[in-house]
């Protein structure tokens, strides 16, 4: 297992190398010019050109790519064109909010979606099943930003229970930290709750028709024991797969949620960097995200061995 994990981690290096080359090339050919954004609307074309030269953006592609790669190999993600701050420092500033949002969303999703899916499968065809599935269709159909606005209007503006925007670090305490994340996590999680509830239901329905479940019933095991110990464990592989995909998708979802709730996370940093053409920041974030994607896939594969002893690497 350990050698498998090491091999998988090593295999991320060529993947990230290809991603780096692809992203760098894409940004190079993409329209837009950070020098023009920096210079401001009143700047003359000559000013824009001087700034471009100052940033080294007038150099040939291979020179720019080589310089960047050389720095990456030395563990240096570069410096933001705009803020003059190291990209690694900017990413470090933003990691906690994004990871907090993703963690809360994930926990919320699993805690809500899996029981809902199990209940729907258990009561398949009944009003419970139909209600849960209707909710799933509804939640799946609503865009995250719409759910976000509605939640903010109800729970922040009308009831004044929670803040509308911002982020408080975990170091300031559990409740202040959680306060800022509840609404964004609900908004971001609604789609995943719907998705995972449906997958859980489908997977459970299949398992509940297996012979060993009938045997368990015949042995007189309790319903809860059958559902959560025997059936859910065997239905877990597809659920874990979808949760893994969900984590990867959460990174994309965080971009919208962080904008709606003004959370200073990686999603907003990405958007800002793209709009301004802050190339070093975009490249740094993409490298980080590509590593995270690979890592999540690895975690999913490892989790398979925990829920299904037949799977070995």
């Amino acid at each position: 297992m350990v050698s498998y994990i090491l091999r998988r981690i090593l295999s991320t290096l060529p993947v990230m190398g290809i991603v780096a080359l692809f992203v760098f090339s894409l940004l190079y050919i993409a329209p837009g010019d950070p020098a023009a954004v920096i210079a401001g609307d009143q700047a003359s074309p000559a000013d824009v050109e001087r700034i471009r030269q100052g940033l080294g953006l007038d150099r040939p592609f291979l020179v720019q790519f080589g310089t960047w790669l050389w720095h990456i190999l030395h563990g240096d993600l570069g410096t933001s064109i705009f803020t003059n701050l190291p990209v690694s420092a900017m990413i470090a500033q933003r990691i906690e909010p994004t990871f907090s949002l993703m963690a809360i969303t994930l926990v919320l999703t699993i805690l809500v979606a899996v029981p809902l899916g199990v209940a729907a499968a258990w009561k398949a065809g009944s009003w419970v099943d139909r209600t849960i599935m209707a909710f799933a269709v509804f939640a799946f159909s609503l865009p995250v930003f719409v759910v976000g606005y509605v939640l903010a209007y109800v729970f922040a503006l009308q009831f004044e229970w929670l803040p509308v925007q911002g982020y408080t670090p975990l170091a300031a305490g559990i409740w202040p930290w959680l306060q800022n994340l509840i609404l964004p996590a609900l908004a971001l999680g609604s789609v995943y709750i719907a998705l995972i509830a449906r997958i859980t239901r489908a997977s459970m329905l299949e398992v509940l028709q297996q012979d060993y479940v009938r045997t368990a019933r015949a042995k007189g095991l309790g319903q809860r024991n059958i559902l959560f110990v025997h059936a859910l464990k065997n239905a877990a592989v597809p659920i874990v797969t979808v949760i893994g995909i969900g984590i990867a998708l959460l990174i994309g979802g965080a971009v919208v949620t962080e904008s709606v709730f003004a959370i200073p996370g990686l999603g907003r940093l990405t958007i800002d960097a793209i709009l301004r053409r802050d190339y070093p920041v975009i490249q740094g974030i993409v490298l980080l995200f590509s590593f995270l994607y690979v890592l999540v896939n690895l975690m999913v594969d490892v989790t398979y061995t925990l829920v299904d002893p037949r799977i070995r690497y």
Partner: protein
């Protein structure tokens, strides 16, 4: 590794987080009242007001760096860091003396050498600074508080140049920082103004913090825009960047922020209904909407085509697309200068007045020989102002029979594409939309958009000797009457050549909670004199 190990590990992490975070800091009522939370118009992505000339950088910089002179609400430059000035009879030598007791944020006194280095850096980037540099003999220190600027020719607008609020302003920095190449970013932020920049708390894209500078020596006069006594009544100002307008509106209503610089018009009615919120016009100098045509390439290299577009252009259509039905927020602008300012004139603006004349427009177009070649109209969709204007223009061009190649893109792309001088079919452009702060259009001083000096002109590169002659006449004017006369001729010439197309004059709102007082109307948010009660 088995399931139990994993679960135990997860439980451990959870309990660690829980025990580590039970405490929370409480902001006392007094501290909250001394902290002003402000939502700026845009993200403060860099903090060098000479290198990056975006308005948001200028606005933040005005807190941190002081200027020698400051423009007041009557549009007159007043002494700020300067105690006195003298100009020789021939107008060639200016001698300035600094106020005593001026200090930088690192405790060092402000000396003439700092001013000289700051002015040298500023004059390499600012249009008025470049003019001064071109006629400069020498800029030297006489002593620590006195410096002399010797010129080859008189420059009557000297004080305006040093005190204007258009970007880049002549901010005074320590010599070691001001010696940075003006086309590279400064490495540190040691200011001379009433607030210090808390670099450690800066999260670009999210937050910028300014703390009161205890050793700042404000003038004794009442504050007026960038002039007078910049008395800070709060200890800390937090700029909270909220990119989504609906979220910013909700945060203001919820009391999470105190002041929102630029609420979008659509949300103003709901803010006005809230009894805890004040809404008012932000800046009486407003903005001028515009689109620029590329004078280098067909079809807009022919003045008849440019006039055809102007003859058909309905400013009301543009303004309603921008600000909706609130007629208090806009007015037609048959000219180039900011309404209700001394140089405002409608000379030559008849083409923009009255019922729109599509027949004349079509006739002019036919006379130009326009044969249906595509007009590349580059429109930034991520800026509500440019998007709304672009949609109206596309319709306008179609109405007069032009073939529109509508390029929907983002502002970053417009920023680079508009700098291309190649023909539209080869990566260039035919027209793009923007807007100008009214404060920049009160005179030709900082009004790049009205210049018509060909290659050196702003994007679109218009060439008109008459326009340039009148710009020079304004700079040389000895009094307001001469300035007005030059502005009239300039307006007429710029309209005849269609240097650019003004789409109207519009205002915007600002909104703040009622426990905030002292907010002044002006071209930028002025924080001095603003106080907050708990």
């Amino acid at each position: 590794m088995d399931r139990r190990t994993v679960l135990k590990g997860l439980a451990g992490v959870g309990s660690l987080a829980a025990t580590g975070g039970l405490s929370m800091p409480a902001l006392s009522q007094g501290a909250a009242a001394r902290t002003l939370r402000f939502v700026p118009q845009a993200n403060l992505a860099n903090f060098d007001p000479i290198w990056g000339t975006q308005y948001v950088v200028r606005n933040a910089a005005a807190l941190v760096w002081d200027t020698l002179y400051g423009l007041d609400a009557t549009l007159q430059p007043q002494r700020q860091m300067v105690e006195s000035e003298e100009v020789s009879d021939d107008g060639l030598v200016w001698t300035f003396r600094l106020r005593p007791g001026l200090k930088f944020h690192d405790g060092e006194p402000v000396r003439s050498k700092d001013v000289i280095a700051s002015l040298a850096r500023w004059s390499a980037r600012d249009p008025m600074g470049l003019m001064l540099k071109a006629i400069q003999n020498e800029l030297t220190a006489v002593d620590d508080r006195t410096f002399k600027w010797a010129l080859k020719a008189p420059y009557p607008k000297m004080l305006l140049a040093l005190g204007k609020n258009s970007t880049p302003c002549a901010f005074i920095m320590p010599e070691r920082i001001a010696q940075t190449d003006p086309f590279k970013q400064i490495p540190e932020y040691v200011g001379s103004g009433p607030m210090k920049f808390a670099k450690g708390e800066w999260v670009p894209g999210a937050k910028a913090v300014f703390e009161k500078f205890a050793d700042y020596a404000p003038r004794q006069e009442k504050a007026s825009w960038l002039a007078g006594g910049k008395q800070m009544l709060v200890d800390r100002i937090e700029w909270v960047v909220i990119p989504d307008p609906a979220t910013a509106a909700a945060a203001l209503q919820n009391g999470e922020v105190d002041w929102w610089e630029s609420p979008i018009t659509d949300l103003v009615p709901s803010l006005k209904k809230n009894r805890n919120i004040n809404v008012d016009i932000a800046d009486p100098l407003g903005n001028i909407g515009s689109f620029r045509m590329n004078h280098l390439h067909p079809p807009f290299n022919d003045v008849k085509v440019r006039r055809a577009v102007l003859a058909a252009l309905s400013q009301e259509d543009y303004m309603r697309a921008l600000v909706g039905d609130d007629t208090a927020l806009w007015k037609p602008l048959p000219g180039f200068f900011t309404p209700d300012t001394p140089l405002y004139t409608e000379e030559g603006g008849e083409i923009l007045k009255g019922k729109r004349d599509l027949a004349t427009a079509k006739k002019l177009l036919a006379e130009s020989g326009y044969s249906g070649q595509p007009v590349t109209c580059v429109v930034a969709q991520d800026q509500p102002i440019t998007k709304a204007q672009g949609d109206v223009t596309a319709d306008l061009l179609k109405q007069i029979g032009m073939n529109v190649d509508f390029v929907a893109t983002d502002w970053g792309t417009v920023g680079s594409r508009r700098a291309q001088k190649t023909p539209p079919g080869q990566g260039g452009w035919g027209m793009f939309h923007t807007w100008h702060a009214g404060a920049d259009c009160i005179s030709p001083a900082a009004y790049n958009a009205i210049r018509a000096n060909g290659d050196k002109a702003w994007f679109g590169w218009p060439t008109s000797e008459v326009v340039e002659k009148e710009v020079t006449a304004w700079f040389d004017a000895k009094n307001l009457d001469e300035e007005k006369a030059a502005a009239k001729r300039l307006n007429k010439a710029a309209m005849e050549d269609v240097v650019y197309a003004p789409t109207g004059f519009f205002l915007s709102y600002t909104a703040w909670r009622k426990n905030i007082s002292g907010i002044a109307k002006g071209p930028l948010p002025f924080f001095w004199g603003v106080s907050k009660t708990a």
